[in-house]
């Protein structure tokens, strides 16, 4: 409209940032957030204190023994094999379900994410009870792969849906065949997503206790447990724990880096048109068999085995009173764990969503410490702490609930933060301008608006608390069992028919909140 001598808009004008500048965190939020953050990093700090108690030399001797090296080698080896297998399964299934003319592609896409709901020790129970000779490395690798490959599948499938098919079409038009196009154009774009998923799988393997302990394969977590049970000297267990935590922290750092790069790869693509599905032709039968085999092994097989053991059970193995008691106890501790975790997560989640700057960032990072802490290390740290400083709490419920809170704070904080972010900050400004102080704004506006998301986070925390094994084993009050610990004990003594009802109850009880969560999301 403006030509010639007409004057245009100011060339110096720059886009205004709609992000809110770092505001002061009001104390009604800041104080509880600091308390929760300190609580979250306390186990890590105390573990280090305890490991170095007898001097760094002593701790160094423990972590450099032949046994420690053996444990480390086994953990790393197991992780390498499981990650490789997950990459093959995850990438192939992601490509088949998103980019090809695979029949029932959407159904397969849902089916292959279901293993996420299977705890590793349930998978181990299924394989071990069907084929006891699998115990050891093979069984561990098999069960862990079949429960953790969705960690690769999900991000890779998302990346495939996002990448612009025009790039692949360009490659084809430049003379590359479909296979070379996949390896030279598609795969490089998937690398950040696949790498992120692989790191999550490795983290899962390093932290896993259930599958390796049932499969009697001595990795770091099982070694720590044995060392704690076998000796009155707690320093070896603490020192080994510190090494394990160092490994997992390194993995989390690596994961954060791959995520940063993944974002970079995505910039500027905009909304890509969906790709035309590739015809499978003569590969159709092979592709369907592959999807069918993975689903059968990861989903159908554990359920069938469970059904078999339930069916062959008899009055000697089937104890309804004990099952009811265990289920009630499980629901109780999981509810307490979810309640405490959500309460601690709320202030941190709000601060993380609404404030920027170093303090807010630090609080959020502290809350995510649990993400890098294997359950067994948190449990040990709390045991050590309680024995020395809070003996009345040792093997009492509060300690167990506290461990749940440390372990699953990341889940609840992420949910709270996302829920608060969805409510526009303008609403809080309006409430302030209408005469409400910060505390009342939190109570009357922020929390009611974020409530559905926070409740979803609480439900998710409830499920993961219910399934938690290593910390529950170490910290449960004497005489109390959860479904997970009973399942673990019975499987450990090869009483598979006795273990089955606990596995079934666990899956059923965990399915209810998961189902409600699914409905909430849609």
């Amino acid at each position: 409209m403006k030509t010639g001598t007409s004057v245009g808009a100011d060339p110096r004008s720059r886009p205004v940032s709609r992000l809110r500048p770092a505001g002061r965190v009001p104390w009604v939020l800041g104080l509880p957030a600091v308390v929760a953050a300190v609580f979250a990093v306390l186990p890590l700090v105390y573990l280090c204190v305890r490991a170095l108690e007898r001097g760094p030399g002593y701790a160094w001797d423990i972590v450099t023994t032949e046994r420690a090296a053996l444990l480390l080698g086994r953990s790393v080896g197991l992780a390498a094999v499981v990650v490789a297998a997950c990459l093959v399964l995850g990438v192939s299934l992601a490509w088949l379900t998103t980019r090809t003319a695979l029949p029932w592609a959407r159904g397969w896409a849902v089916l292959v994410t279901l293993p996420l709901a299977v705890p590793s020790y349930v998978a181990a129970f299924a394989w071990l009870s069907a084929a006891p000779q699998l115990a050891g490395f093979t069984g561990s690798a098999l069960s862990l792969t079949l429960v953790s490959f969705p960690y690769v599948h999900l991000p890779v499938a998302a990346a495939l849906r996002r990448t612009d098919p025009a790039q692949e079409e360009t490659a084809r038009s430049l003379g590359l065949g479909p296979v070379r196009t996949f390896f030279r154009v598609t795969l490089p774009q998937l690398r950040p997503a696949a790498a992120g998923g692989a790191v999550l799988v490795a983290l899962y393997v390093f932290s896993d206790f259930g599958a390796v302990s049932l499969m009697r394969y001595d990795t770091f977590t099982r070694g720590i447990y044995t060392s704690y049970r076998a000796s009155f000297d707690r320093t070896p267990a603490a020192a080994l724990s510190v090494v394990l935590v160092a490994l997992t922290v390194a993995l989390v750092a690596a994961e954060a880096r791959t995520r940063g790069r993944a974002r970079y790869v995505r910039t500027g693509t905009g909304t890509a048109r969906p790709a035309d599905p590739a015809p499978l032709g003569k590969w159709l039968v092979a592709s369907l068999s592959w999807c069918g085999a993975v689903t059968a092994a990861a989903v159908a097989f554990p359920l069938t085995t469970l059904g078999y053991w339930l069916a062959v059970g008899n009055s000697a193995t089937w104890d309804p009173a004990r099952l009811t008691e265990t289920a009630t106890a499980t629901l109780g501790v999981a509810a307490a764990g979810a309640a405490l975790t959500t309460a601690l997560a709320l202030p941190i989640g709000v601060v993380a969503a609404r404030h920027r700057g170093r303090v807010a960032h630090l609080l959020e990072q502290a809350a995510y410490a649990g993400h890098a802490l294997p359950g067994i290390t948190v449990a040990l740290s709390l045991v050590f702490f309680a024995v020395r400083y809070a003996h009345p709490l040792y093997q009492e419920l509060p300690l167990l609930v506290g461990a749940y809170a440390v372990l699953f704070l990341p889940v609840a904080v992420a949910a709270t933060r996302a829920a608060v972010l969805q409510a526009p900050p303008g609403l809080e400004d309006v409430a302030r301008s209408l005469g409400r102080g910060p505390w009342r704004v939190l109570r009357e506006v922020t929390v009611p608006l974020a409530a559905p998301g926070v409740a979803a986070g609480a439900a998710l925390t409830f499920v993961v608390c219910m399934k938690e094994l290593p910390a529950t084993l170490l910290l449960r009050p004497t005489g109390m069992d959860t479904l997970a610990t009973r399942l673990w004990t019975e499987t450990g003594t090869a009483s598979y028919a006795a273990a089955a009802p606990y596995a079934a109850a666990l899956i059923l009880l965990a399915a209810i909140p998961s189902y409600l969560l699914g409905r909430h999301r849609t």
Binding site: K2, V7, A9, R12, P424, G426
Partner: protein, 352 residues
């Protein structure tokens, strides 16, 4: 009727960035609606957030009536300022009904008084009977009017409107704008409207403050800002402008490529420099097409853009480097490539 007085307001987000507000001064008389107009990034949103108390200023003061809101060592929290805000997109509380949204700020009153006041407010914005609805059941324009009712309900001394009509489609915008303006008039509140839309500022406000680089570049009535802009940049920002090199001739006229043009004398600009040279500002609607034979000023039509209510014609004027735009109402009689004459109506502003 409460006056808003802002003096020397300064704010920067860290040393590497230039200050967002750089000693901004602005006075809005009680009961007036002032538009703060500026391009993105000029600091207008920061200004609004400081007035409301969401941000701390580095220096300067904000006074509403006799109360100092922000000043040296003073920072009233937003909840104690009695300043209402109408944010972009309304931002109604989605978990509360319309009536409870409007009554949100009515604290310390009994139930019946609150209800009566909320109903009064709904009536004021023309939405009587909508109290029981939920915000998502309202159209965008209705939400915006409810947001205004909510801001006005506690009888604030000052109301701030942050680009409140941005989210509305253009057909609705004019109507909602008129409703909001009428409701503000009735309430008697002083109001500040932040916008980057010059049409909105000119048509809605009593007073337009053009902000540039964190300062008020000009603050005047819409007519004055449009007709007598303080500098060529403002001229171009508040509307289409035709700028011509000119030489002042004395006697309130200037010589340009379009002939001798009478100069406006009632401005602060340097019309006294009788023999100076400078730039004169004309608006495209001050130029008129004439028959090319008249022998005076002529040129060649290069482009014609038809908008319906009027048309913009670009003419390469003989002896002028850059072509000029002129706006003509009614049917367009010329085509690109044709010769035409040009005549100037009204007065121009000379900037040295």
């Amino acid at each position: 009727m409460t006056e808003l007085r802002i003096e020397g307001l300064t704010k920067s987000y860290g040393p590497p960035a230039p200050p967002v507000l750089d000693g901004l001064d602005l006075t809005v008389p009680g009961g007036a609606l002032a538009a703060v107009l500026g391009p993105s990034g000029c600091g207008k949103t920061t200004l609004l957030r400081i007035i409301a108390g969401f941000l701390h200023a580095d220096a300067g003061s904000v006074t509403v009536g006799e109360r100092v809101m922000t000043g040296p060592g003073v920072h009233l929290p937003p909840e104690r300022r009695r300043i209402g805000i109408v944010p972009q997109e309304g931002a109604l509380f989605p978990h509360l009904s319309v009536a409870r949204n409007v009554a949100f700020g009515l604290t310390g009153l009994d139930r019946t008084t609150r209800r009566r006041r909320a109903e009064e407010m709904l009536e004021l914005v023309g939405l009587t009977g909508y109290g029981e609805r939920m915000p998502h059941e309202l159209s965008g324009g209705q939400q915006q009017r409810i947001a205004l009712a909510r801001a006005l309900a506690p009888r604030p001394a000052l109301v701030l409107l942050d680009e409140p009509f941005n989210a509305l489609d253009s057909a609705l915008r004019a109507g909602v704008r008129a409703d909001v303006r009428a409701a503000l008039r009735l309430s008697g509140a002083t109001a500040v409207l932040v916008t980057h839309d010059q049409q909105e500022a000119l048509s809605t406000a009593d007073l337009v403050a053009v902000v540039r680089d964190g300062r008020v570049a000009q603050c005047d009535t819409p007519q004055q800002v449009y007709r007598r802009p303080a500098d060529p940049w403002i001229a171009g920002f508040v509307g289409d402008a035709v700028l011509l090199p000119a030489t002042a001739l004395g006697g309130g006229t200037a010589d340009t490529a379009l002939g001798t043009i009478p100069l406006a004398t009632d401005t602060d600009t340097d019309t006294d420099t009788v023999n100076g040279t400078g730039t004169v500002l004309l608006r495209p609607e001050q130029l008129e097409l004439t028959e090319p034979t008249s022998g005076a000023v002529g040129g060649t039509v290069t482009e014609v853009r038809f908008y319906g209510h009027d048309a913009m014609v670009t003419v390469a004027v003989d002896g002028l480097a850059d072509p000029v735009d002129l706006r003509t109402a009614g049917p367009v009689a010329v085509q690109p490539g044709e010769r035409t004459g040009i005549r100037v109506r009204g007065e121009a502003v000379l900037h040295s």
